[in-house]
Structure formats: structure tokens, C-alpha cells
Symmetry: D2
Subunit: 351 residues, 4 copies
């Protein structure tokens, strides 16, 4: 069966690169076109992009011509669906124009909180695909937009899901220690971060506080009804290349033992695991019993960068759980998240 042809929108940035890496030899999808801003148009990809991933640019990709991000590429290249990592400022218009014709799986924040747009972690809320019909109807699109959450959200929302189901959640406080790649290649000057920490990442805390409520929400009448608990987030930048670490404290509704929680994490399987999707990590949540894990450098590539590693699981008082989680911010937290969403859509015949 022929593979579906993909456009990568915003192909030269760090998430764009992860899309390209993640789509190498993919069983469902193949690269159709690499699209970027005017600055890069007409160049070979190897000239246009500052490749940051280990190893060299895949050879056939290196020589691909970069095209302008314009829905015209859909016809020109016979594109079936798009992955998007474009700047938020242009996403409303650009992603919308693509969605008029084809499905768009977007890593950009712009549409995330729209009523009729799924904000998906496929292990958590695959049912939110049900919004697609309402979305298409309301907007008059033949395609649709599926978004994935912020790179930090995914790292604690995924382990929160089975806790939420098994124990209930009253409140969450979390502190993130986030990697440099989350800000883009030029995002954090070395002068700012060597021997230092920056206790601020624009917009990040707000996303961490809102997004999980939508993701864990239920659908009724074509809309998401948010989950009903409170998140308080403190986000920090540290001198780590890849891998966001998050220290989380959760007030649960039911009491538990540490062993209960480890069991809950270990048993967790979402649809991607059950369906054995190509890039689904199994297990999705890796529990480490060592005192000093997870660590970014040791654990970020677990499950091909798609697993969330959880450690430091402790009961701090009755109905208060604490754990530390780690996930790869440009794979599970970005490109890999979109790809896994698309794989699930594929299997569900939504492509």
C-alpha cells in the first residue's frame, strides 16, 4: 500500500528536524515536501537548516529543495497531510489554509485551546478525535487540525492520566527544569546559562496550567469540558541540551501506597500501545526505582525519546503524591507527539 505523502511546515527549525528524523523509513508516511520561510526557499535543505540532531542529515533529505510554506504545495507535491512546527504568529492563517484541504498535525500553540480543536496525547484522550466533525462543519474545512501539547505539559500530563483515573486529582504543583533545545537553536545565549538558571520561560507556566485540563477533559456536545482541578507551575531553564525534567506534587482524592502508584504507572497502556503504533513506546511510562533517576542525559532517549520516565515516587502525606518525570522535549514533547497523533488517526482511518 502506498505511503501517505507528508509536508513538513517549518522544516528547518529544531522541531522540523525532529519531524524529518522521525519520518525516516516510516511505515505509513513519507516526506513529500519540506516547507519553510522565504529566507530558505530554493535552497537545498542541507544549506537551509542548521542540523542539530546527532549524525548527519539523511542523504536524500539533504538535497531536497526547500519550498515556501503555502498551501499550493499540496497540489504541486500531492500532499496527503501536513506536520506543522511554524511560528505561532502565522499559524492561525497558514495552518487554517492547509486544513481547508488536508489534515494538519500541529505542534504550534495557536489552535490548541480552540473549542473544536483536539489537543491530544494519544495515550490519554484519543476520543477527542470526535471533535473533528464539529470542527469541519463549523469551519467549512475538508481537512482538520489536531494539536499536541506544549513540550512540558506532556511530561507530567502523561503520568497524571492513570493517577487521575485511579485516584482522582484535586490539585497539582510542579516545577520544571527545561532543556535548551526547547527555546530553539538560538533561543538561549550561552552567556545566559553557563553556571546559571533562568527562572522564566515566556508563556510556559500558563500552558502547563491550562493544557492538562483540556487534555484530561471529556467531550460533550461537540466541545471539551475541562477537567476540574488546579495546576500551579514554575518553569525554569537549565543548562541541559535535551530533556525536560519536572518535579510534581499531586493532591489525590483517594489515598494510596507508593506500590499502588508504581503498579498504576507500570500497567498503564493507551491506545498507541494496544494498537502497537510504529512510534508508540511500550511501556509509555517507565518507572525507575533508583534514588537518582530520572536524569535528562540518561533517560531522555528511552523508548526512542517517546517514553516518559518517572522516579522519586513518594507518598508525602495522606493523599499527597510526589514524583519526578523526564521526557524528551523535541521528540515526545513536539515532533514525536504529532507523529504519534497522526499514526493513531491513520489506524482509525481518519486520514
Amino acid at each position: 500500500m502506498a505511503k501517505l505523502k507528508i509536508a513538513v511546515l517549518g522544516a528547518t527549525g529544531m522541531v522540523g528536524q525532529r519531524f524529518i528524523a522521525g519520518l525516516q523509513n516510516h511505515p505509513y508516511f513519507e516526506l513529500g515536501v519540506l516547507a519553510a520561510s522565504e529566507r530558505s526557499v530554493g535552497k537545498r535543505y542541507a544549506e537551509a537548516a542548521k542540523w542539530y540532531i546527532e549524525g548527519d542529515i539523511p542523504k536524500d533529505v539533504a538535497s531536497m529543495r526547500v519550498e515556501l510554506i503555502d498551501k499550493k504545495v499540496i497540489r504541486d507535491y500531492g500532499i496527503d497531510l501536513a506536520f506543522s512546527a511554524i511560528p505561532a504568529e502565522i499559524a492561525r492563517e497558514v495552518e487554517g489554509s492547509f486544513a481547508q484541504e488536508i489534515p494538519v498535525f500541529s505542534n504550534t500553540k495557536t489552535y490548541r485551546m480552540d473549542d473544536d480543536v483536539p489537543l491530544m496525547i494519544p495515550e490519554i484522550n484519543p476520543g477527542h478525535f470526535d471533535l473533528i466533525k464539529a470542527q469541519q462543519k463549523k469551519r467549512g474545512w475538508k481537512g482538520y487540525i489536531i494539536t499536541n501539547p506544549n513540550c512540558t505539559t506532556v511530561g507530567f500530563a502523561l503520568p497524571l492520566k492513570p493517577i487521575y483515573d485511579a485516584l482522582g486529582v484535586d490539585w497539582v504543583t510542579l516545577t520544571s527544569m527545561q532543556a535548551l533545545s526547547g527555546a530553539g537553536y538560538e533561543g538561549v545565549p550561552s552567556m545566559a546559562i553557563v553556571d546559571n538558571i533562568i527562572p522564566y520561560i515566556g508563556g510556559e507556566e500558563e500552558k502547563c496550567e491550562l493544557e492538562p485540563l483540556k487534555i484530561l477533559g471529556s467531550i460533550s456536545a461537540g466541545k471539551v469540558k475541562n477537567a476540574d482541578f488546579k495546576v500551579i507551575a514554575s518553569c525554569n531553564r537549565v543548562a541541559v541540551l535535551d530533556g525536560h525534567m519536572i518535579s510534581t506534587v499531586v493532591g489525590t482524592k483517594k489515598d494510596f501506597t507508593v506500590e499502588d502508584v508504581k503498579e498504576i504507572f507500570r500497567k498503564f497502556k493507551g491506545e498507541p500501545q494496544k494498537m502497537k503504533l510504529p512510534t508508540a513506546p511500550d511501556p509509555a511510562i517507565i518507572v525507575r526505582d533508583e534514588d537518582d533517576r530520572p536524569q535528562p542525559r540518561r533517560d531522555r532517549n528511552a523508548g526512542g525519546g517517546m517514553a516518559v520516565t518517572v522516579g522519586r515516587i513518594m507518598k508525602k502525606q495522606e493523599r499527597v503524591l510526589r514524583f519526578t518525570s523526564l521526557s524528551h522535549n523535541t521528540i515526545r514533547g513536539a515532533a514525536g507527539a504529532s507523529i504519534l497523533n497522526a499514526e493513531l488517526a491513520y489506524k482509525k482511518k481518519l486520514l
Copy 2:
């Protein structure tokens, strides 16, 4: 008036070095003897210590002979009081033997939680000096032991104090991002921390959860009655040389505005500030309004390393306050804390 003569116990380590640096040209105290373990005895200090503080070892200190940590030095050198940064394993015996004769200001954890031993941050609980009499009586000592808290505790307990007084405290969750120097010069291998974070520091979370309750406690019948709230701490090691950063969320009893809290912090003065003690920072708490402060490299030396810098002050919901604080872990969090305790004792004629 003659200065009091000081013994530094554990003089070659990183906190010992900070004692030496902090006592240079001190108006009340002068170095009498540098004491260390057998390995160093008989060497000149410059040979025995791996000096880590910026600049070279003060010249007259470099040539001082290192003596064994033994209370015999009290007579031999005419010592009036001791500062201690010795290993916890030997502290009960060694600090006790010195306290039989002279006051000991200790940075070591061993005596901290003893009923009759003050655990002091002089801006918070100077009244705990009242325990000295009970301590001397119970133990038959002519001297006494005053301890200062763990390097992390001081960074959030100090800003917590005026909040506790003004608003009341129900619960606290905090996540620390701690500097390398806190583990000692050889404590954290570079292979462990470059491009990485370690989510574990032995014993640290327990200290952060217990110590503030004693420090904020009240005295009755010669004992400390602990403050009555709960602290949940997650402690992490990051690739920063000096300066512990802590992200704290506090449930208060009364509601507040952010401006209230800034005002509370800005107005705060403890006895060290009122008495203008030589190393007292003024203000003790520095409030930064910028989004991206405090930062370890920028703020650790504020107030000579004795101030706590607070930023990211936000109201997260009714009666929920969040802030980030930063303090120098080997100055305010260790040697400087002991010295400030001793300065207060001096002014109160307890030496």
C-alpha cells in the same frame, strides 16, 4: 578592645574556606587556629587546602600551620569560640568536647534537631538563644552549641518568616535546584552533571521538611515547640557552581495581593539588620521585579552573599503564593550563617 580568638574546625573544606574568608578583617573576631583532620595536620594551610574561592588564599592564612581538631587547641591557642564545619559522623563527640569549654557555632547537622540546641537564623528566631541555659545545665557544659540550618532551608525559610508572621502558613511545597559546591569540592563528578540534572541529594529533602518547623517554632519550658505546617520538598542538583535556587508555593491562612507580599518582604528587618551586625545584609530579602530573576550567577553575591533574593512573586489562587528565591549556599547557607549567629551572640553578650 581585643578581638575574640577563633578556631575553625574543618578548615580545609569549602565551608571552612568560607569561614576563613568571612573572618578576614572582622571587627569582633580573629583567626586563632585552623584545625582539620590528621591528613592535613602539620602542613601549611596553603598546602592542605584546595582553595576554591575567587582570588588567592589570604597571605597570612596561607602560612598558618594546620592543627588537629582536638579541644587541646583551646588552651594552646587561647581560643574563645569555635566555628565548625566538620563531618557529621564525628560532630557529636568533637563539637561536644569543645562545647564543654567554649561556645561552638556549627554548620554541621548533628546537633540541629536536639531539643535543647538552637537551630538559628538570626533574622528569624534570635529568641532561641534562650535555650542555652537549659543546654548548659542538662549537659554540664561551660560553653554551648548553636547550629545553623541546612544550606537549602535558609533560602526559603528566611522569606517564609515574614509571610508566616503576616499571613500564616498552612503548607509549603518547594523544589530546589542546588549548586555543586553544596556537595563539597569532590562531591559531584563532572561526568554526572554536564548536560544533566540529578534529582536526588541524600538527606536534603528531610532537612528541608523538618528544619523550618523548628526555626519558626516557639520556646516553652526550655524546649522548642515546632511550627505547625507541612513542607514537601524535592531537591535537585544542577550544573551551577554556587547559589541554591528554590521555587516555593505557599498556602497561606489569610489572603493577600502580590503588592502586599512585596511590601512584606521589603519591610522585613530582623535583629541583625536593626543592630547593624557586621555581616548582616540590609535588606535581608531583596525583591526583584524582573520576570527573569533571581538567577544564581547574577544574584548569589547580593549583600556579600548574605541576602536572599526573591522574585517570580505571584498569587496563583486565593491564599496560594508562589515565589522563587536564591541564596549563596556556602555563605548565607553555611559559613556566613554561623558567623552571623556569632555576631548576634557577641552583641547580646553571650560570648
Copy 3:
């Protein structure tokens, strides 16, 4: 006697900041005006600059209004001389326009290799001030331009001088390991340098190979006759905040012992030391005997950031000397170098 009024051109950058810091409480000079590009004009300095130096911006500087870099400020503010750290692209025109009226001490490369412009390290070639007359005559200026070398050049050229005088120099190979601040605050992305080295700094090797020959050159007929040896330079960027380290091998004309060389370094005094200029380090060259020195973090601030620290002095074969040197790249290698040049000019009544 009234202090001379200074314009700092390019005041918001990292070298500009070092000019400001270096001129605080200076006995000869006082800040008259801070000039920068249009982006900053009209702002208070504290808004316009991202201050990177330890401690806060000096209070009176923080509130100064930033003016446009235009020679009109000379009249408006009664400026006596200018320090320049402006981009090379605009330096020819801008520095030239200021030099029509007042002396300009420039850290920018543009005029460095001009025949009639001194490229000065005041310990090495104070006699090059003699070019001023030829320069003024040729260009019709009332003022003049004095340049200082590249931040790396100074770190090996200064120790090379007494070797050159005492032993002669046939050839030099050097490898630099250069600090991040040399590239400007945003110059090196953290993604590029964490757990990494960059073996390339644009234009740096050429400067290191050419500049010392002019600096060590002699003047005849109003021109510099370059010194006659060959330099081969390899320049690398490493994850250090401040302080360029250079490993140098020198082929000398006369043979020597290691003790000879240490003695040559230790005895070295230039005019700044003899005249006790305000910011002259004394000694200018610090010799360290320890195996593991110099180190950037330990030695960069020696002599107020104006000394060059030399270690690893070894004789590798007959007439082949090897040493490692370390100097602060934005102080001795930039702003401090210009200020020391101006101090010497002041004492020689050239201002």
C-alpha cells in the same frame, strides 16, 4: 584638577559595559555620555543594556540617557575623548568623524592595521604614540585614533615581549581556548557549546597572526616596520564565560633555561607599571609554578582583570619554549586595554 569627560561609543554591548565599569571612580576620567545605536537612543541605560557584569549597574549610570553615536555629542556634552567598542562595519566612518576633533581609543579592529595608526599594548610599544603626528597630518584631524589589539593577541603578545627582547623569536605556534563573552552576549548559542567545542572564530586566527608583528614592530619614517617572525594560530571557542586561555610554543633565537624565562617574566615592567598608572597591574605578568595553572575561573580577575597569568613554562628542546597564558578577554583584552592606553596618553600629555 577637573577630570576629562568621556564618551563611550557602543555603550550597551559587553565591552561597552566593561568601559563603564572600568571608569567608575577613575582619577583622570569621568563618564560624559553613553552612545549607542538608534535602537537604544532615548532610553535610560538600564533599559537599553543587558548588564552582564557581576553586581548591578552603577546607580548613576543606570539612569543616564543613551544618545546616538554621532560626533554632535562632543559639543553637546563637552567631551574630551572617546572610547569605542562599535561594530567594525561602521567604525571607519564613525571613529574617523570623532577623531577629527578628539582622541579616540578604539577596541574595534577597523583601523588597527592602518600604517599610521598605533596598535598598542602600553607595556610593549608606548613609543608608537609617535605615529600620532603623522596620522594627524595625513588625515587632517585634530584628534587621533589609538587602537588596542584583539582580545586573544594581548594574552600571548604581552608575555612574548620580554622573551622577544631577551631571547629573540623565530616562530610561534599557538592554540587558543576562548571564552564566550568574546562573541558578545548573543554570540554563541548555548545549543552550540554545551558539551562541545567550536574550532572556529571568524577572523580570529588572522588577527593573532598579524597583530603581534605590528605591536612588536619598530617605527621608522612615521611608519611601523613589522617584527620579523611567523605566528601560526588555531582559535577555538569553549564553554567558559570570561578568560581566554592560550597554549603557546615559541622558537627562540637564544637558548634558555626554564628559570631564565620565569625570571624574565617576573622582572618585566612596562611604562604603565613604572608610572603606576591607575589601572596598570603590577606585576603585568604573573608566573604560576603550579602544574595546573593558569585556569580561566581562577586567574581571569588577577590584577583587576589586567594581568596576564602564565604557567606550564617548559623547555621542550633547545630554543623551544612552551607556556600557557590566561587573560580576561573583555578587560585586558578589550575595554581595560583601551583605558590603559588612554591613561598612558594622559600621563604623556597627549590628551
Copy 4:
């Protein structure tokens, strides 16, 4: 055909770990026994070793029992050959006792400079296997010892080889910027290296200056006659996890163009490449044309960590070549080097 059974001596250290990783699924060899010091004996490998390589310990290795380093394991486990990464202090006795019975491929320095012991880089001097007979005869061993060079030596000696053959070599100066893993997991405290460089690595410069002369030497009368040129080395430690970078300047006997040199490097093939040995990189020398390569993080894993990447190739004057090279210090510079030596021995029927 049955695989040969391997003992790894010093299995818990960083090079030991690389031996284990490098022998996973090896076509000629299989792990027979893991041997370490008394401290580890009797533990499962997963308990005894602090695994530092990305990913977890291979499962079957994790549960292997660690044995004492004693030649008794040869019988007990039916061992055919040993790889050694034991401390230099015990190597003479221990490696010698194993060599009485079986071949030993050693990464330890102890036997390297012995007259009758090959110091091999199999691309350079495979002929030095001819020393084995003399060695066995002289020492009365049934086995023998083959050593590989210091981790830094290999990074410049390998590219030097084709230059030596094609152009001749008169002298070499080099400056290394070496990774942390070269010192062992606990070798470099983080306090020593964050925001810093250490210009000293004990014994390293001497090895870099001597070893290449033996490696490039010729054999006559059962002894190695050293190559006849002079190397001057300056070795530095930088904050990089893996990958030694070396900036080298070579005085050649014949003149050349940069293109000549690139061609010489690109064409280079040693016996391992010609014989397509399992871990032989092909090409052995990777030439990068970009200005800013090689870089440790980007290039250390090239060729499975076995290639040497060369860039910054420039002609600095007549018969003076400069280049920068990068190789993985615990793979090509240690365990991988020994394994490649053993593969060649295997193919040459010396096992």
C-alpha cells in the same frame, strides 16, 4: 564457528564498559567473564558498575557475576583472550600473568613502551605483530601482550600516518582539548571544570610526545626503531563529556597544497578497512570541509566512535600544515582500539 571467549579485566570502569558495549553481538568474540577488583567481586555487574553509556546495561550482562582479576578465570571460564583496562600500578604483574597463557589486548600504559611489545594502531603499524615471537621467546609466554596507545595519541597519530608516508614529518606541535571521560567517572570534580579549563593532565604530554614515534617506527632485529621527528604537546581538560579534540601543526619534508592533503586523508585505507574488520570505520579518516568542524558533540560518534574526523586543514606556510582532529576517547581512544587490534589478530590467525 564458535566465538572466542573473552575476559574483560577492569570491567566496571568506563573503558571496561566500552569493552562490554563494543563486544555486544560481536561476530568473533563473546563475553566469557567480567573481572574487577575485590570491591566488586561477587556482585552482579549491574550493582558493581556505575554504567555511564547511553541506554541501560545489556540485560544478560547486568546479571553476570563479577569475578576477581586473577588468571584462574582462564581455566574456570575457558577464556581465549583478555581485554584489559586495569590500573597501571597492577598491570605489569596481572597482564603478565594472563599473557603466560593467552593473548592480552591492553589499554593500560604499563607495557606500551617495552621493546618487545607492539604499541598498535592497526591502520598504521600492523606489521608490529611481528614482535610477538620475540616477546614470547624472551618472556617464556604462551600468550602475548598487544597494547594500544593513549586516547589522545590515536587522534593525531592516525591522520599523521598518511602525511608521514606521503610528505614526511619534521616536527609536530599539538594542543589537546580533552574530554572528561578520559579521567574516569570520578576523575574530574564538577567544581573544577564548570566555567573553566585545566591546563594539565598528568603524564599525558609525555605519552603524546613518545608514543607516535614508536607507532610510526619500523621493526628491525625484533625491536622497534622509533620514527625520527619531534612532537611537542600541550594537553588540557575541558568540559566535554566524550571526544578529544586536537589542534595540530606539522612541519613536513615535502611541500603540498591543501587539496593534496585532503586527498591524502580521503584515500587512506589501512588493513582494517581493506579486510573489512567488523568494527573498522570506513573511511578511517573523515574530512570535513566546513569551517566549524570537527566538534566533539557532533563528530565523536562518527564511524561508531572509531573514525577520526579532521577539519581546519590549512597550509600555514611552505611545508607547514595545520589541522584539527576529533576522536572518541573511550572508543577509538581506548576499548575500540583494543578490539580492533584483536580483530586484526583474529584475521591474521594470531589468536
